[in-house]
């Protein structure tokens, strides 16, 4: 038995879920970046606006540079709510006109010295965003560039970026969930032919060795072709086996018969009579063993593979009695058949059933019945019962289970096959083997056959 592997469905879902999870993680990361950029764009406008307003408010009075940050610039920055505000206005000589003197001014602004620009930074331990712009003074009394730096803590930006990211993440996760559910449905749908073919193979008649021919997706066709090739090989093998069994039976029986005949001839010489008698007994046993092996092979092979036909069990039993009870029995035996007047007909394999009946009768003759053998046939609710009763001591209860297994409990002079053959035939007909007694009537083996006993 091969090690159990995860189902195709599980594998596919796990792989798709992995891909979706990685994709969702990448998208959420991207959303965080976009959110941060969007927040920066939005708040940078406020920041630059405030810087420009402050720069606009720079004036020159009597050669003195006056910088008065207008309230509106602070109101603009206050729109972002919680954030702290720092600013610094520096005159062309680098002296701070007003604001926070420790706020850094970007150096090396070069020619575009009055172009507004934003950057990230830190001020007094807090992360800030800085906007910087310049005001070119062209007054006769004051020349140069006044630099305005406005910084704002990033709490509102981070909050906005987080909110944007959270919303995007919710969308991405919802979408991923939907995709996963859709994939699950799609996989179930795509794998349906596998289930269908499996069910069709399972429900196939075991005797049907015709090639399977289903409409199957391209991916499953090699699997069907391999199955058909296997069925073909199996059929060939079985035909070979049947031929071999038939040939072997014929080939072995013939020399055994000849051997027995030779012994019979030789036994007429009185001086070797005793030894020859033993040789004949051995040959008889061998002949019977071969017969039983064949019978066993027949029943085994036919079980479940041969189409059932209506069989008249009374007729079948009479023939079995004729074949199983030798005419030259060394003791007086009263063998009777009791059955209903009307024929008892069931769907059965006559050859298997006859082999079974013959084995039961043979068993009774060999190990039981000192003087009486009764074969009964009864119709039951769901089929029929064949009862073989003798006046012997029967099989001890503790040996009964063992007696039903092949070669498990050979009786003296027996092969250990008789009851197992009968049991197997009964099972193939949807029935079983039971024991009754021993009691006043003796001991009986009952073989049950189901009516519609298709196995």
């Amino acid at each position: 038995m091969a090690r159990a592997e995860a189902s195709l469905f599980t594998r596919l879902i796990a792989l798709v879920a992995l891909v979706l999870a990685l994709g969702a993680a990448a998208l959420v990361t991207a959303a965080w970046r976009y959110g941060r950029d969007a927040a920066d764009v939005a708040y940078d406008r406020l920041l630059l606006g405030a810087a420009l307003q402050m720069a606009e408010a720079v004036t020159v009075e009597n050669g003195r540079i006056i910088a008065e940050p207008p309230v509106s610039a602070f109101e603009l920055l206050a729109l972002s709510g919680r954030d702290r505000i720092f600013y610094r206005i520096v005159d062309p000589s680098g002296r701070t006109i007003t604001g926070y003197e420790d706020l850094a001014v970007a150096s090396g602004r070069g020619l575009a010295s009055d172009a507004p620009a934003t950057r990230d930074g830190r001020f007094r331990g807090a992360p800030v965003r800085l906007a910087e712009t310049g005001r070119v003074l062209a007054d006769e009394t004051a020349r140069g560039v006044v630099t305005v730096v406005v910084a704002q803590t990033t709490e509102s930006r981070v909050a906005l970026a987080q909110e944007l990211t959270l919303r995007a993440a919710a969308l991405i996760l919802t979408m991923s969930g939907l995709a996963l559910a859709g994939v699950a449905v799609a996989i179930r749908f795509a794998l349906r032919p596998v289930d269908r073919i499996g069910a069709a193979l399972r429900e196939r008649d075991p005797r049907d060795l015709a090639p399977v021919d289903f409409a199957a997706p391209r991916e499953l066709r090699p699997f069907l072709a391999a199955t058909n090739a296997f069925i073909g090989r199996l059929q060939t093998r079985m035909e070979m086996m049947e031929r071999f069994v038939a040939d072997a039976a014929h080939q072995i029986r013939t020399p055994l018969a000849a051997l027995t005949a030779q012994i019979d001839l030789a036994a007429r010489r009185p001086e070797d009579a005793d030894r020859l008698e033993r040789a004949r007994a051995r040959a008889g046993e061998l002949s019977r063993l071969v017969g039983q092996l064949l019978s066993d092979a027949t029943v085994s092979h036919r079980a479940g593979t041969v189409p059932l036909t209506p069989v008249d069990l009374g007729d079948l039993l009479r023939r079995a009695m004729r074949e199983a009870i030798p005419e030259t029995l060394e003791r007086d035996l009263l063998a009777t058949f009791e059955g209903p007047a009307e024929p008892v007909t069931v769907e059965a394999d006559p050859i298997s059933l006859k082999e079974a009946a013959k084995n039961l009768i043979d068993n009774a003759l060999r190990h039981g019945a000192p003087g009486r053998l009764t074969i009964r046939l009864r119709r039951t609710a769901d089929g029929a019962e064949i009862e073989v009763e003798d006046d012997g001591t029967g099989i001890p209860p503790e040996r009964r289970a063992l007696a039903l297994r092949r070669f498990a409990a050979p009786s003296p002079g027996g092969s250990g096959l008789g009851l197992s053959i009968a049991a197997r035939a009964a099972a193939a007909h949807g029935g079983g083997l039971d024991f009754r007694g021993p009691d006043a009537n003796g001991f009986a083996v009952i073989l049950r056959v189901a009516q519609g006993s298709a196995a």
Partner: protein, 356 residues
């Protein structure tokens, strides 16, 4: 001559400050003392008294030390403490909310989040660090027995006209804040200038021409009006004036009909307070319905919805209130260049120009 007079004015202001600076009042714990709360405030102790006593009934094991400052001095002390990495007491109270906003902006505040702070309106909460716990209109106050009814101004224009028509009567008898030393005075003047630049300019000119008396604090001006040395006071906290009316002073309180500034007194926990738990509890108390009820009935008299105290005559007109909200826009008030120029302009008009 001009310089000399200015020098005298500054010296006067300095004396006033010196007398009031860092005056500590101790409220012993009602029960066995298990901790102390230090309140550093630029707020009249008389106004805070009922709130502190009510707070102590809730926390009987707390001793409360109330240290009283002038606004600017409180700010300077808080900045110095912040630079050293310690908190100035446990709770800062100031009518000059722009200074508290500046402190919070510079990282000198500790946030407080609680159901009470969450319930505070947006204009009374910045960063969960600076909270407004009162609603105090800014009023014109006059002496009822000395100012005849026809002279009582209802608006700024009335005041300008009065000073123009009766210069002899009112010269040297009108008082207002000295914005050079009073943070809250500067805050009011700055907002006046923002409201209507022309009215502000004319008013300043009128006050200067009338040789208005400038003082550090509402209390001093109210004392002077009550005693009759001054007749009219401009830009005074109506809450303090109303406290005196309730105490029997013969004062009239006018909320100007053109517009009325309204201030929400600020409370803040400085960074690294000595007793953060007590600081948070006191802040929550100030913002709680109980604290606000006590403030409205016994301390500051006006409710956040602008409703007048009982028996109040001149009331807020619909839409005339201009609330000074607590937020980063107040940082503009704290800009040094702006402040220097504004104060210089004010000084020139109020003190120097009309000095003979």
């Amino acid at each position: 001559m001009r310089r000399a007079l200015l020098g005298v004015a500054l010296a006067l202001a300095a004396t006033g400050m010196g007398a009031r600076a860092a005056e500590t009042t101790r409220y012993p714990a009602l029960g066995a003392e298990r901790g102390a709360l230090a309140i550093h405030a630029a707020t009249d102790r008389e106004a805070m008294d009922p709130l502190i006593r009510d707070f102590q009934t809730l926390y009987p094991a707390l001793r409360v030390d109330f240290v009283e400052y002038v606004t600017t001095e409180l700010f300077d002390a808080a900045v110095a403490a912040c630079a050293e990495g310690r908190g100035l007491g446990d709770v800062l109270l100031s009518s000059s909310v722009d200074q508290l906003v500046k402190l919070a902006n510079d990282g000198c505040a500790q946030p407080r989040r609680s159901p009470e702070t969450a319930a505070a309106p947006g204009w009374a909460n910045w960063r969960d660090e600076v909270f407004g716990f009162t609603y105090e209109p800014v009023a014109i106050v006059y002496n009822r027995s000395l100012v005849p009814p026809q002279d009582r101004p209802r608006s700024r224009l009335d005041l300008i006209d009065l000073l123009r028509l009766k210069p002899e009567t009112y010269r040297g008898r009108v008082g207002t804040y000295d914005i050079r030393v009073s943070g809250v005075g500067f805050l009011f003047a700055f907002h006046d200038a923002r409201q209507t630049a022309s009215t502000y300019g004319r008013l300043l000119e009128s006050l200067g021409r009338a040789q208005a008396v400038v003082r550090c604090c509402t209390g001093e001006i109210l004392d002077a009006i009550e005693s009759g040395r001054l007749l009219i006071g401009y830009n005074l906290l109506a809450s303090y004036a109303w406290a005196r009316v309730r105490a029997g002073a013969d004062l009239g309180v006018v909320l100007p009909s053109d517009y009325t500034l309204a201030l929400s007194r600020g409370a803040m926990i400085p960074a690294n307070p000595a007793n953060p738990a007590a600081a948070g509890a006191f802040l929550d108390y100030l913002l709680s319905p109980q604290g606000r009820a006590v403030a409205a009935e016994e301390a500051f008299f006006f409710r956040t919805d602008g409703a007048a105290p009982e028996g109040g005559d001149p009331m807020l007109r619909e839409g005339s209130a201009r609330l000074i909200g607590i937020g980063p826009a107040l940082l503009a008030v704290q800009d040094s260049a702006q402040r220097d120029r504004f104060v210089a302009e004010w000084s020139r008009t109020m003190v120097e120009m009309w000095t003979p």
